[in-house]
Amino acid sequence: MIRTEEMLLNVGPQHPSTHGVFRIVLKIDGEIITDATPVIGYLHRGTEKLAEDLQYTQIIPYTDRMDYLSAMTNNYVICHAVETMMDMEIPDRAEYLRVLVMELGRVASHLVWFGTYLLDIGALSPFLYAFREREMIINLLNEISGARLTFNYMRVGGVKWDAPDGWIEKVREFVPHMRKELAGYHDLVSGNEIFLNRVHDVGTYSKEDALAYSLSGANLRCTGVDWDLRKQEPYSIYDRFNFNVPVTEKGDAWSRYQCRMAEIEESLKIVEQAVEQFPSEGAIMAKVPRIIKPPAGETYVRIESPRGEIGCYIASKGKKEPYRLKFRRPSFYNLQILSKLLKGENIANLITILGGIDIVLGEVDG
C-alpha cells in the first residue's frame, strides 16, 4: 500500500527567485500546493518609525531603500507629499528632470523584472540582455545624481542637481536604442513556445479579486481595469504628455507580462516627449525655507510607481519632523493575493506566479 501524507515545505528565505529575503511555507500534497503561508519581515527596518525622528530632508535617503529598483518614484512621493502640505510651486525645469528620471527608473525597473522573471522560469540569456540595457540607464542616473541605485536626488521644492552637460542628448539617443532592443526582446521571448506554455493561464485572477485585494499597477491592469494614476489623477506634469495606459484582459501571468512590456514602450514615449519639451533654462529649486516645517495637519498623496500605487501619508504637528509617516507600499499589497493564487497549483508554477507579481522585498518589509 502506498501511504500519502501532506508535506510541509519551506521555500526561502534565501531562495534565489525571491529576490531578497522572503520565505514561504508550503503544504504540499504530492506536487499540488494545498496551502501557502508567506512569511515576511526579514528586511524590516522600521522606516516609518525612524522617520518620526528625522527631518524631512533626512527621510529622503531612507525612501531610496524601500523600493530599491525604482528609488526615484519613492524620492518623489515623499517630496510631493511635503510640497502638497506646504502648497509649493515647483519650477518647470525641476518637474521635467523629475519626470525624466522617474520614467527612466520605470524602464530600468521593468527591465529587471523582465530579466529576472525569465531567469526564474529557466531562461538565462534574456537576463543578460535586459541588464545590458539597464546598465545604460543606471549610468545615466549615476551621472545626474551621483549614485547607481540609492539616488537621493530629489529635494522638497525641486531636485539636487541640474542635468550635466550633454546629459539630455544622451537620454535622447538612448530612447531609439532602447526601442530597438525592446523589439529584440520580443523576438527573443514573446514568441517562444516554451515560455508561452509556462505563463498562459497560470495565476489567473478576476477583476473583482484584484479590486478586493487592492492590487495596483500592472497586477490590476492585467485584469482589464484601466487605472493608472498618471492618467486618472495626473500629478507633476504628466498631463502634458501623450501616452497610453496598456490594459490586458485575461488576468494571467502572460497578460501581466504583456502589460509590463507595453509599459516600457509607453515610458519611452514620455521620456521622448519630455526631452523635446525640456526647458532650456530655469531654476531647479523653488524657494524653500532652510528648515522645512509643513503646517499642522495631514495629507495623503499617491503616485504610480512601476509596481503600483505608492502613497505617502504625513501627519504633521507643524514641527520639523513628521508626527507620523506612512507609506502605502504597493509590493506589500500586491503580495497578499499570493496564498490565494497558489492554492491548488502545481509546485512548478510557484515561481511563475510569485515572479509575476513583481515584488521588491525592501518595499514589502518597509
Partner: protein, 139 residues
C-alpha cells in the same frame, strides 16, 4: 518552433556585438564626477559648526572642536573628526550643508576591510583621502 528560431536569431546577432562588461577590478572603474564616494575632509577649512553631524540621517559623524590656539582669534578649530563607515550611507547630505566645503565627496568607493574597527575613519585618514575629489560640489 518558429518562436524558438526567432529567439535564436537574436542571440546569434548579438554574438558579434562589442563586449559590454568592465575589467574591474583588474582595471580601475571610472565613475562620473558627481559620484558619491568616501568623503575627503579639510581640517583647516572646518569651523566646527556641527551641521554635518546634525543633518546626518544615520548619525555616523562624530566631531569635537577645541579653542583656537591663537588667543586673539575667535571661534573653534577641529580636534577630532570620525566617520563610521559601518553605517554611513554616502547620502551626500553632509557635504550639502557644509558652509565652507570642508567635507567633500570623492570618487573612491572601495570600502571593504577585514575588520569592523577599520571602518572607523578618523580625521587623518579622511584628510589623506585626497584622490579623485569631486570638482562640482554645490549644485
Amino acid at each position: 518552433m518558429k518562436g524558438l528560431m526567432k529567439g535564436l536569431k537574436y542571440t546569434l546577432k548579438n554574438l558579434s556585438k562589442e563586449r559590454v562588461t568592465y575589467a574591474y577590478p583588474d582595471e580601475p572603474l571610472e565613475m562620473p564626477d558627481r559620484f558619491r564616494g568616501i568623503q575627503k575632509f579639510y581640517p583647516e577649512k572646518c569651523i566646527v559648526c556641527n551641521q554635518c553631524a546634525n543633518v546626518c540621517p544615520t548619525d555616523c559623524i562624530d566631531l569635537t572642536g577645541k579653542k583656537h590656539p591663537d588667543p586673539n582669534k575667535k571661534g573653534k578649530i577641529i580636534d577630532t573628526y570620525d566617520i563610521n563607515f559601518e553605517i554611513c550611507i554616502l547620502c551626500d547630505l553632509c557635504t550639502e550643508v557644509c558652509p565652507t566645503e570642508a567635507i567633500v565627496m570623492t570618487n573612491n568607493f572601495e570600502l571593504a576591510e577585514y575588520s569592523r574597527d577599520e571602518l572607523f575613519k578618523n580625521l587623518e585618514w579622511l584628510d589623506e583621502n585626497d584622490t579623485n575629489v569631486r570638482k562640482e560640489n554645490k549644485a
